[in-house]
Symmetry: C2
Subunit: 479 residues, 2 copies
């Protein structure tokens, strides 16, 4: 998951409407055929009992590994998911997507001058380049580090004090908010500096930018992620330091002159050809009507992309697996999409919306999971009240797994599906327990062990019953 | 802190005698002069309110940094502590200690062949060389990884299956024990493979040894630490992999052949001259009688040595600071020692016991703190029942800070003071809350922020009142 306004709104803005689905059962009852309800319960039970999603996730993370756009592993993952979906009985298409191809290089930080320094001692700074960063000279650069807490402080310093310096944006991730389940808001606040810090600093003449990692955890792990160079600013190298190293720099720079030697040697290669994997389980009655279930297949390169977002992909794959396993038939087409390039470009989501623009009206819903695999308490939707009413009987099924809360949000609750959302397609996402998500997010610690098999199965069950409901309702989902 | 039987016994073996100090008040009351009790309360109050220890720790960790034996930083730390103790009014001696001088180099692990591998993909393994490890060839070595859970499994494989391989000891740290406050037992179990794994594997022809990190945390952080080459085995390179990478290797090797390219380029340089810092606050009546308060000044090189063991050093420094601040006078000499080389040699503790062998009888007690700076619930002592009886009235003071538990243990409760213990000197250590200690221990995450100022002050208060009591009792502490 990357910078996303959707996330903020999904988790945070206590919006207009939050129900337990049962709460509005009284208002305007919408009846499901008894067979549908029965099938949903069967699907839920089978998915909760299955380790299919977990085994797929183990393969993606352990046998393939990190899957940054343009990498060999990303291509291996495309081929793997396509093959698995064919095996599951889907019609599979690879949709061509040209993606950025950024490759991490050497990344080191060392304090070469600082208050209290003894003769010839230096100190290591743990950092990682931000995705898309340009490189320093190969031999590195040395400059004074100045520390600001926000953009206003930077502006107040002005060009005189910033020129030639390395700027550290020391914005502290609000762990209190994260602990309250509003990690998205905290993330949104911190990520502003990861995304926009480099250009803000460059406009005042800085030679490099650092940001305090946008994440929690406290284990001296740097959190990478994409930066966005503004068109009007010089492009300067940028990296995330760990919370601990940000504290160290703040402590030392408050005492006097701190000089850092910074070496970052990433490369931006020509755009590479990659693919969204599109796998259709064709509808028996309205094959032209589509319900998307999805996650993004690309990941950052430091970890193995288990919570971000292997989990989303395998949960979507599990929808098809469950339906096939029970020999059920969707009336409308369920389309699994493993999106490419969510992390540093959103090219997959944008390409799809363009390629399928003519069929927008036939896209009844797009569901994406991209906030890990913690226990889901329900789902969010950027939809009309009418649409939610049609999904109300789902509560009878989801309540048994503690997932009956539904919240309307005012933006797409997923990044890859946001271009479709902008075209009017109803968008949905599960609402996971994300209290530890930002410990591991975009770090080397995003590995298989962070996903609990049972909680992953709960997410698979939620996505399965939600998608199957929309696919098999007597009438098309209201918009 | 390193491999230590003392730790195991300190935290774990529920030994013969555990009291709250008040519990045996009835048995054999030992009276303190009212002035002493009053002074103890003053000292406790002043220490609890002081940030002296924390500011010293900030300097050691932030302005000096990691302090591995033989490093420039270790020397800077020796000079700094000596100067601070002189400033505080102590007589300072630097006791020469020849220490191992091991320097970390490049350390990389990469899977170059594994089940499910796509063309040309590789996977990174996060690892760190163990202290004292020999190097691989400069260009690294490539070999199959075999995974065992314990020494018995290795032995069962035999030379045929081990010859030419890299052996991973995948012994899982018992987090349940750690969560129950018995981290020392869990550590002792896991550390057997860090300490002895390389030689056990080498005896069967292995070319390198890996151990699953002896620690908790789950953030893909490798935990370094010392290894011990047995005299009868070839010396092979050894490294700790993270828990996550151990899981990955176990998963893949269960599926088939896993080949790793391993590069470790540490160097062992000639022994270096270093020092124990010895700072005496001379006793007014029995200057020849000595109570040692101590921690170890050296640290591993990955973090900045806050919990292991900057905290112990500054807590000992705080004892003198508190006494001086209140204008009190110890009747016997309080000797602050900042030990050198606890982590990879114990040369400081051994040298001291040798240099001061003739004065053993005048060493009334040796106290060391080396288990972080969590809230202390009391202290342990490797002492006679009589000795404890003399310390019983301390309960009146310590109970107010929740530290009134005393436990007799059957070995020295600190590594550096164990050579003195072997000579019959009563030894003591605070008993800290260590539930998170092994998250950070020997990792890059051992940094200042892991120490809570108030808990550090509690440790300082405990060591201060314990030391001052022994220094000012009417009679010498019983042995």
């Amino acid at each position: 998951m990357k910078i996303s306004k959707h996330l903020t709104s999904r988790l945070a803005i206590i919006l207009c409407t939050t129900f337990t689905l049962s709460a509005f059962a009284q208002q305007q009852p919408y009846e499901y055929p008894p067979t549908l309800l029965d099938e949903l319960k069967q699907l839920q039970k089978a998915t909760l009992a299955s380790d299919y999603a977990y085994q797929q996730l183990a393969h993606l993370t352990n046998n393939i590994g990190p899957r940054l756009s343009g990498s060999l592993q990303a291509q291996a993952a495309v081929e793997y998911v396509a093959a698995e979906m064919r095996k599951a009985g889907c019609e599979v298409t690879l949709e061509k997507v040209m993606v950025p191809h950024w490759v991490r290089g050497i990344e080191t930080g060392e304090l070469v001058q600082f208050p209290g320094q003894a003769a010839k001692t230096t100190q290591k700074i743990v950092l990682t380049a931000l995705g898309g960063s340009v490189a320093t000279p190969a031999e590195g650069l040395t400059a004074e580090v100045i520390v600001v807490e926000n953009f206003a402080q930077l502006k107040a310093l002005g060009r005189d004090k910033v020129q030639g310096k390395i700027v550290l944006f020391n914005a502290i991730f609000d762990e209190r908010l994260a602990a309250q389940g509003e990690a998205g808001v905290a993330y949104g606040q911190a990520v502003a500096y990861r995304g926009g810090g480099a250009s803000a600093a460059a406009r005042l003449g800085a030679v490099a930018a650092l940001n305090r990692s946008a994440g929690t955890g406290g284990m001296r792990m740097p959190h990478t992620g994409a930066l966005n160079y503004a068109p009007d600013a010089p492009q300067i190298p940028a990296a995330a330091v760990t919370a601990e190293d940000a504290d160290l720099l703040a402590y030392l720079s408050a005492q006097g002159n701190v000089q850092m030697h910074l070496t970052l040697t990433p490369q931006t290669l020509p755009d590479a050809e990659s693919y969204n994997v599109i796998a259709d389980l064709k509808g028996t009655e309205h094959p032209e009507q589509i319900i998307i279930v999805s996650g993004h297949l690309d990941s950052w390169d430091l970890g193995t992309g288990a919570i971000d977002d292997g989990a989303g992909v395998v949960v979507a794959m599990a929808v098809v697996n469950a339906i096939k396993q029970l020999g059920l038939k969707p009336r409308r087409t369920i389309r699994v999409i493993a999106w490419m390039n969510e992390e540093n470009g959103l090219r997959g989501g944008r390409t799809y919306a363009k390629d399928y623009a003519a069929q927008t009206a036939n896209h009844l819903a797009a569901i994406e999971s991209d906030l890990g695999a913690g226990h889901p308490i329900g789902f969010t939707g950027h939809v009309s009240a009418n649409t939610l009413t049609m999904l109300q009987p789902l509560a009878q099924v989801l309540r048994s797994q503690g997932a009956s809360i539904v919240r309307r949000v005012d933006e797409s609750p997923g990044a890859d599906i946001s271009p479709l959302d902008a075209l009017g397609v109803p968008t949905f996402a599960p609402m996971q327990d994300s209290r530890t998500y930002f410990h591991y997010h975009h770090t080397p610690g995003d590995t298989l062990d962070k996903v609990k098999p049972q909680e992953l199965a709960e997410n698979a069950a939620l996505m399965t019953v939600l998608a199957y409901t929309i696919a098999n309702l007597p009438e098309a989902l209201s918009r």
